[in-house]
């Protein structure tokens, strides 16, 4: 009797476990299918967008009327941007697929810039037309490769989940059809990026970081770097400093210093350029106590620090208080002209007013002040270009980097429209509205 009961009990247990296991398996499969479908959608969407892109570029080539060219180029820009976003959803970040992404970005930037230009006044140049033709060819190649992959995926029921697994485990991914296909696309684009240059108006967005142009001079040694840190941070000499030289991937070599103060048991970090020994940034991560000084006092302390280290003509541009830290932005003011690209950031602790952060990255990577020609239009003429609804509150001259990556002399206006404040830059040579920024308002807390 007992045996029968026991057997019944156990078999019930087995059946129960089997059912539970089956359910788990089902659920897992459902989730896998769901994830797989997301990948499939992104992939098929991508191939579709590339088809569209190719056709659309082709259409623009045949167009002659400027009226229809602008909208067509805008369409190219939109499709390229959507394709770019599709790529971002595929599990390719472990696969070198940079060049294709970059290619899509470049098409986008190129078509955008040509589309927003007044093509009546400034029609497509010969080079730009040639660029369009090459883009047309290249997109055809990509389209072909992708269609091939798509065909194989559909024919063999290939799964993206397998790609992800293969990539993650490094399990001979070279056997994978999808990976092979994408590698072919990548190689194709790579040859293009290397051989073809975009038209001269297109200063490459890929080379945004220009390196530390300003950091010139003789190469310093590790010991010299220590000495620079000591004088820059006003160290007492009892700190333990370790110096590491950057790897060869850095555009400009630099030293990274870790400064340990045994007294306070805090660490300060600092990078110094090898050439000339310029401090790039400093972070002091000490805990900061209750606020004792005001943001205003902190700004004065920050300014004093810069003056002490021979940054001349600096002016406070922005100050913001985050709890008990002041974050300050200084810009260079050259004879009444603000040079916005040459910005220096600082953090000042509001408990005792010491500097806890410094960053001259923008300052060091912007070209040394260039002499701009005198403005061709007057302040009043520039003001007339503004939206009449904007109430101007402040005005001055300033240099900014526009969206073609050129430094231009502008008239800067700060004005209000409704409850918002805007910063508007009018080119001082030709009166073009280079940039309009809505300045940040405080955000309410949601807690």
């Amino acid at each position: 009797m007992l045996r029968v009961l026991l057997i019944g009990f156990l078999s019930l247990g087995i059946v129960g476990t089997a059912y539970w296991g089956y359910r788990e398996h089902q659920e897992k499969n459902a989730i896998l299918v769901h994830a797989e479908n997301n990948y499939q959608r992104a992939f098929h969407d991508l191939t579709y967008k590339i088809d569209l892109l190719h056709d659309q570029i082709g259409t623009t080539l045949a167009m002659n009327s400027k009226v229809s060219l602008s909208p067509a180029l805008t369409e190219v820009w939109r499709i390229a941007s959507e394709a770019h976003s599709d790529v971002g959803q595929l599990p390719l970040s472990l696969l070198p697929f940079n060049k294709t992404q970059q290619f899509l970005s470049q098409i986008g930037a190129f078509s955008y810039r040509t589309a927003v230009r007044d093509l009546e006044k400034e029609p497509l140049t010969k080079e730009e037309y040639k660029t369009l033709q090459t883009l047309y060819q290249k997109s055809a190649d990509i389209q072909n490769e992708l269609r091939n992959v798509q065909h194989l995926v559909l024919k063999n029921n290939l799964r993206w989940m397998d790609v992800e697994l293969a990539l993650a485990t490094n399990n001979r991914p070279s056997d994978n059809t999808i990976i092979d296909g994408f590698k072919a696309v990548e190689n194709n684009v790579e040859s293009f990026s290397e051989t073809t240059d975009f038209a001269p108006t297109f200063t490459s967005i890929t080379n945004r970081e220009k390196g530390f142009i300003r950091a010139q001079g003789k190469r310093i040694t590790k010991e010299e770097a220590k000495a620079i840190a000591t004088s820059f941070l006003g160290l007492k000499g009892t700190e333990k400093i370790t110096v590491v030289r950057s790897g060869k991937g850095a555009d400009d070599r630099f030293y990274s210093l870790t400064i340990y103060d045994p007294k306070t048991r805090t660490e300060t970090y600092m990078d110094i350029t090898e050439k000339g020994g310029y401090p790039i940034w400093v972070i002091d991560n000490r805990p900061i106590k209750k606020q004792a000084i005001s943001l205003h006092e902190a700004s004065i302390k920050g300014m004093d620090f810069l003056k002490k280290h021979r940054f001349t003509n600096v002016e406070l541009y922005d100050s913001t208080q985050y709890d008990n830290i002041a974050v300050l932005t200084f810009v260079i003011n050259e004879r009444g002209v603000r040079i916005y690209p040459e910005a220096i950031k600082m953090k000042v602790a509001l408990d005792d007013g010491t500097v806890v952060g410094f960053s001259a990255r923008d300052y060091l990577s912007s070209p040394v002040v260039h002499h701009f020609p005198k403005p061709a239009i007057s302040l009043a003429q520039a003001k007339a270009k503004l939206n009449p609804n904007v109430k101007v509150m402040e005005e001055r001259q300033a240099v900014i980097t526009n969206n073609l990556n050129q430094e231009v002399l502008c008239y800067e206006f700060l004005g209000t429209l409704g409850d918002d404040t805007y910063q508007i830059f009018i080119n001082a040579q030709n009166g073009i509205e280079e940039k309009v920024d809505k300045l940040q308002n405080a955000e309410r807390t949601y807690d």
Partner: protein, 267 residues
């Protein structure tokens, strides 16, 4: 003896009265744009009382407050610099009133309210329920400074990623991871939104294994804020990896910039 007591009493009363009066006036700091705190609340309330400031009284000295201060200074013949120093404060206290307990109570209760003069205060409150109560009951302002182009939620999402990826790393290692996310945002080879970069399949292990949903600590948030504010300890890196656990061979081929803690940062 009696005479001396009277003197003492007079002095006591005088200092007593002086101190209660001062409780409701500004502290001695010069207030400038970007500041937060009680002085800013008082400044906004007083400017609103005399009709110079129409925005929200939220304790953050933003652009709206700045223009209000400048208009006030202009109207009252003070030097127009947008800095609230001694003379501006004195003038402001003279021409306006500040009902501190009213203002603080509304902030505490998360009500939307105004503080105009010449109108009963009770008519200037709109109850909004308890939505904002938690933040406000700690006595803090109802708004906060945020770097341009980002929201508090963006920062939170990045802090999640940084905490999941690099919580055991030194502080600059965490700032560097946040900086990599931002560098990718700018880079043509990567998606161009914070969520796009973070959730790109396979991009971050913390996303893949769910560690991104751990609750980040203050350090991670601070690191994100530093990175957004312009500090980049990674030296412009767009990749990083842990050499002990990296399974992907390709990552080694990227030009390496530097090592921070366990991570190697590369281009």
């Amino acid at each position: 003896m009696r005479w001396r007591m009277i003197v003492c009493l007079v002095i006591f009363l005088w200092t007593y009265e002086w101190s209660t009066k001062e409780v409701h006036a500004f502290s001695s700091q010069v207030i400038q744009r970007g500041a937060v705190g009680d002085d800013v609340i008082e400044l906004q309330a007083r400017l609103q009382y005399i009709g110079f400031y129409n925005g929200k009284i939220d304790g953050v000295f933003g652009w709206g407050t700045y223009w209000a201060v400048r208009n006030f200074q202009y109207k009252f013949g003070l030097p127009v610099d947008g800095l609230v120093g001694e003379s501006t404060k004195a003038k402001l206290v003279k021409v306006s009133k500040y009902y501190e307990s009213f203002v603080k109570e509304q902030i505490r209760n998360g009500n939307s309210f105004t503080h105009y003069g010449g109108k009963p205060l009770s008519e200037q409150v709109k109850r909004e329920g308890n939505r904002n109560q938690k933040a406000a009951s700690s006595g803090r302002a109802t708004a906060t400074n945020i770097p341009k182009g980002f929201s508090q939620n963006d920062i939170q999402l990045m802090a999640n990623a940084v905490y999941g990826e690099a919580r055991g790393e030194p502080y600059i290692g965490q700032v560097a991871v946040a900086a990599v996310i931002l560098n990718r945002l700018e880079h043509p080879s990567f998606p161009d939104s914070i969520a796009g970069v973070i959730f790109q399949p396979g991009a971050f292990t913390a996303v893949a294994d769910g560690q991104i949903w751990l609750t980040p600590n203050e350090t991670a948030k601070k690191a994100v804020l530093d990175a957004i504010n312009g500090w980049d300890p990674s030296g412009g890196a767009i990749y990083y990896f842990n050499p002990n656990t990296a399974t992907n061979g390709w990552i080694w081929s990227r030009p390496q910039i530097k090592r921070i803690g366990k991570h190697i940062f590369s281009k």
